[in-house]
Symmetry: none
Subunit: 430 residues, 2 copies
Amino acid sequence: MSAEIICVGTELLLGEILNSNAQFLAHELAYLGIPHYYQTVVGDNPERLKQVLAMACDRSNILIFTGGLGPTPDDLTTEAIADFFGVPLIERPDILEDIAQKFVQRGREMTPNNRKQALIPKGADVLQNPGGTAPGIIWQPRPDLTILTFPGVPSEMQQMWRETAVPFLKSQGWGQEIIYSHTLRFWGIGESALAEKVGNFFNLTNPTVAPYASQGEVRLRISARATSEAEAYPLIEPVARQLRKIGGLDYFGADDDTLASVVGRLLTKASETLSVAESCTGGGLGSMVTNVAGSSNYFLGGVISYDNAVKSSLLGVQPSDLEQWGAVSKPVAMQMAAGVRSRLSTSWGLSITGIAGPGGGTESKPVGLVYIGLAKPDGDVECFKYSLGQTRSRSSIRHASACHALDMLRRRLLVRPTNNHFPFSVTIHE
Amino acid sequence: MSAEIICVGTELLLGEILNSNAQFLAHELAYLGIPHYYQTVVGDNPERLKQVLAMACDRSNILIFTGGLGPTPDDLTTEAIADFFGVPLIERPDILEDIAQKFVQRGREMTPNNRKQALIPKGADVLQNPGGTAPGIIWQPRPDLTILTFPGVPSEMQQMWRETAVPFLKSQGWGQEIIYSHTLRFWGIGESALAEKVGNFFNLTNPTVAPYASQGEVRLRISARATSEAEAYPLIEPVARQLRKIGGLDYFGADDDTLASVVGRLLTKASETLSVAESCTGGGLGSMVTNVAGSSNYFLGGVISYDNAVKSSLLGVQPSDLEQWGAVSKPVAMQMAAGVRSRLSTSWGLSITGIAGPGGGTESKPVGLVYIGLAKPDGDVECFKYSLGQTRSRSSIRHASACHALDMLRRRLLVRPTNNHFPFSVTIHE
């Protein structure tokens, strides 16, 4: 009994997009404990698609298709599957109605070719697509064979998988013993440095511990195989506790936590508010903060002071300091933070000024030089200097700058000093 | 005559890594004009690997393997291939010497299992690996069949592909004709609606035209097979011209253009400046604008007025209007735009206020309701209302809001009315 993933789309054969759907589905199948030995990519071509289907039927029992469910003529996955099994396509009025409603909802005109998406093989069930117009199917053309189809759009496919396909597969007896994972997230420490500290955990078997790094963040994933969450918890939690302890202040959260959501929780807990003043990130920090639902409870707003004149007019930065030290400097970062805090009357004011590149770097102020200012509830202002390196891209430097700013605020929210001696360095180079 | 990509690795079946090798090779094959109809992923299992090989031999003439060339016991791609064709593996002293030297260079001990990497099928040529210890092979076990193997490490695979495989394939007559692509980008029209308008182009053969949609943007890719760019251009340009004409104002740019980069070009051309006032996007619009290198030439900054008090204090929005109409309303959007334009003394002021959800929606103001204000150089202020639907995620609504705002500015920059009659609706629902 095994599953097979078949991704349909000429754009995959042309190398225009990464096959992230295959990775998502492969990971989900592993999680559900469903064996999976083959992945195939084939173009929007009915004959080749049917040839792949014929082979897959002989070696697998669950065929998972992605792509080719759209309204255009080259979307032909459903037709090819029905044709292969010699079953007619029938138009489902309920799907047609659902598609029509979605167009009304979005105030768009439904075109004739959208009717096509209401056709499914006779006898197949509809796999609802809440996020889009193209539904999928769940179909057992033979007792030993189940076919699931999904659109190629990852967000739609993933929602359909979680809400409909997984419950269906579990109802078929899969996923009795599954892999429960708990991810610990760290900021301010490199992957190899963290690996050095926790290397002995990598030899564990159940749970296993594996490190991942991306965009400056390091994660440790703890995975336990168990029949229930209640059984997995006592396997995972003791290991998690030790790893959190080792991580110290570099550990910032778990699973779906982000630096922004953690900062939000800490601000809410302290009944404090935040405002931001951004130069090189141009709004990226505010965007990160407000990507958290409910952030209006603690985030009042900010100023994007891209131009020096705005730094002075809206934030009260001294023109003489801009003149003397330049926009990317400690005095300016500190005045930006203090300025936004006082003008928006918030507990904390957080500022970023730096050189995101690719141009604008000098020998004394290279690309990647970033100053972060933090105005605190007591009125005191701190400044942190970062050298993010000249090899990173503009967007990577902007992203890292916003993350570092949130991280410093997080550390200050966690550790309230009675004096100005902090338990960690205020200048971080990386 | 066609090629097939076969990626070997259990980590791919477990969804631990994205199959970036398949994308790289697919893109390269398309570029060289080598037809490519199938991609297969299979685990480190000799029987299944041979089964995949058997099928691939029947339908393709160039088989490109990645993965399974390492020193560990589960690396068995080379053995499986040799075994399938009934050819013995022989140890190549030159490879052994090369591996030994590489270990010396790195000051590491060569382990016995590295000898394994010096074994290749009798009669095969070595595909040198300058970047690692595992070489690949180029082998023609049959006159009509060429097999190339590469390690799974992307950097090693790519270097080997460029330095050895491409010259080999060209020596076989490939790459004389390659595929040149040109992508047209559209905003403000759905995929099916655009497909209706340009459907007849989808039947072209050289160049071909294919539609793609993601995050509200629709793309048409024009691909021509030609021996040189000079030969491709006259094939592509006439089609592109017609499609741009049909797209009208919904066409915004080509290839690497973004709404933000196009708006930037138009502002630069007009020597005009921009400032933004953001509520629900919380800085996302400014971040999009400043993600364009050189945006400091036309973007001065903005105000993130997340809290109503900030809308009044920093933007001059009338508290009475906030009271009467609410923060998400036409009057507030217009006052935000006018306020940021005057306070930052810019040519244009662009504002966004809306309900990003998931909470905060009401019957009269549902999630997805967004007002965009545009204060123009002549001081006139317009407002555009969008209903982005209640099924979208918070981040998707925020992203679409910023894109719609940039798109309206783009349209106004393109079409300067002599009066207030615009050639298109000022209220767009989607």
